[in-house]
Amino acid sequence: MSQTGFHAGQADGPDPIIVARDVRQSFGVPGTPGHVVALQDSSLSVHAGELVCLIGPSGCGKSSLLNIIGGLARPTSGEVLVKGRPVNGPMPKDIAFVFQESTLFPWLDVIDNIKTGLEFQGVDRAQLEDRAIEALKVVGMLDFRNHLPRQLSGGMKQRVQLARALSLDTDIILMDEPFAALDEQTRMVLGEDISVLLARSHKTIVFVTHSLVEAVFLADRVATFTARPGRIKSIIEVDEPHPRSREFMTSEKLSVLRNELYELLHDEVRRTMESAERPMAQAFA
């Protein structure tokens, strides 16, 4: 860990590692009642080693964008390039996911969960044990390696999911509201861990969240969305080196940024609450 911390934006190369161009996702046939636009034409570039947060009201399409970037969903129009190559489906060697709900397999214990993920990726049998153990060490869950998911608390389950994503050793990690089901204190502590991780590993992270404070604390840039049909409204930069400390959490700098986010999002949230339709659930091919 360097003394001066790690600044995102000091890109490893001139080209962004993720490029999304005019991505749009809609369902149903236009003109018919079933037609829904989940995501309006949105563009985003993410540089290597950055942590970008996507934040916005429910149904604004931020999760859709994340899933499209990760190859779990197909856009209706537009394209996404990861490391210069177009995204046509999951890219397990380059992108790892952490989901909001627990996607740990309930019939496997912690270490088998991680080893199964590695097997899916295609890792050699001989390396499974070591890589799983290494990843559990990083998140501090090694002692629980033979526990079953139902024996773990919410925070612990998310740490295991994070370990699974880390074990896959991808350059990019996409996180869809990973801490939403946890209480605020746990969220804050885990947020600090993510920041430390970022400083050490220089991975690229795209993080979807509802929490204003979480977004400012973690991100190098925050993309705010409009109400549905959503698109990216503004991008705010947070100029603060990683790993971010508890002092930053209570600093005035963070407060100012948080207030700015609030201003941007307030009207959008109102609009979402007042709209008669309920946001449509995400669908996957």
Binding site: S26, P30, Q40, R231, K233, S234, E237, D239, E260
Partner: protein, 277 residues
């Protein structure tokens, strides 16, 4: 400490490109009912052709013959009497099940001691397989309509007891506490809270009980071949008249479907206020 912000102007959102003609497959996809009807028609057609071409007339009858036989049976007084008795048996067994089921279930539900003592025995009885007891029916009840009512009753009473006891137990204690805090008497609590919840569970139980009663009555009918429907199934079998046999079974199946479906509708109607059904 300046913040850097970039605003992004909304793009012009044009119409989605692509053909908007609805193809036949899309139309079909939107109507499983049509697909279902089509499949049923195809199945009937296939049956008709298979029966006529390869079917042994001793065992198999094409749907057209069955339909004709059906009409014939409707005109046959003796057969219709037997079918009518099936309905009567179902109805009587059902009423008996509900009445005695409530008589046993309500006290068990309300009184914890009785429940802890007797309910396990009820459940044990419920778990006993009833079909080996068929021969016992004729010994005990003869060969009229009585064994069928009895057998329907023994099948139907248990779902009533189980759902009533379960329903009373599931009354949200908080509702009772809230009522008590407002000064409700025991009678008021019984009438205003217990009774509605009880009625709820009763309707669910009635649907299950009807299905069980129908099963019991049908089994008894088939077993007792001295009279009733079982007499005719035996006769049509012995005479190798598959079209009559099939028509009779279709008639019984329709009764079963109608009785079950009506109970389901009644249950749906009266349990609308439940949040999770």
């Amino acid at each position: 400490m300046t913040t850097t912000r970039t605003n992004i102007a909304p793009n012009d959102v044009g119409a989605v490109s692509g053909a908007s003609r609805l193809r036949l497959t899309t139309r079909l996809q939107n109507s499983p009912a049509a697909l279902r009807a089509g499949i049923i028609l195809l199945a009937l057609l296939g049956w008709e052709i298979a029966a006529r071409l390869w079917g042994n007339p001793l065992f198999m009858a094409p749907p057209s013959d069955v339909a004709v036989a059906f009409v014939g049976l409707v005109g046959n007084g003796a057969v219709m009497l037997a079918v009518w008795n099936v309905l009567v048996a179902c109805f009587l067994a059902f009423v008996l099940s509900v009445a005695l089921g409530l008589l046993i279930g309500v006290p068990l539900g309300l009184n914890a001691f009785l429940r802890d003592a007797l309910y396990p025995m009820v459940l044990l009885l419920y778990a006993v397989p009833q079909s080996p007891f068929l021969p016992l029916l004729t010994i005990a009840f003869g060969t009229g309509i009585e064994p069928k009512i009895a057998y329907g009753f023994t099948h139907g009473i248990f779902p009533i007891i189980v759902t009533v006891v379960g329903g009373v137990q599931n009354i949200d204690r908080r509702l009772v506490v809230a009522a008590q805090s407002m000064g409700a008497s025991r009678a008021q609590i019984l009438r205003r809270i217990v009774l509605p919840v009880l009625t709820q569970s009763l309707f669910s139980g009635m649907r299950l009980a009807m299905a069980a009663v129908v099963l019991g009555v049908m089994l008894a009918e088939l077993f007792v071949s001295a009279g009733g429907v079982g007499y005719f199934t035996k006769m049509f079998s012995n005479r190798f008249e598959p079209e009559n046999l099939f028509a009779l079974l279709v008639m019984l199946a329709l009764i079963a479907i109608t009785l079950n479906e009506s109970c389901r509708q009644v249950e749906r109607h009266y349990t609308k206020w439940r949040e999770n059904g």
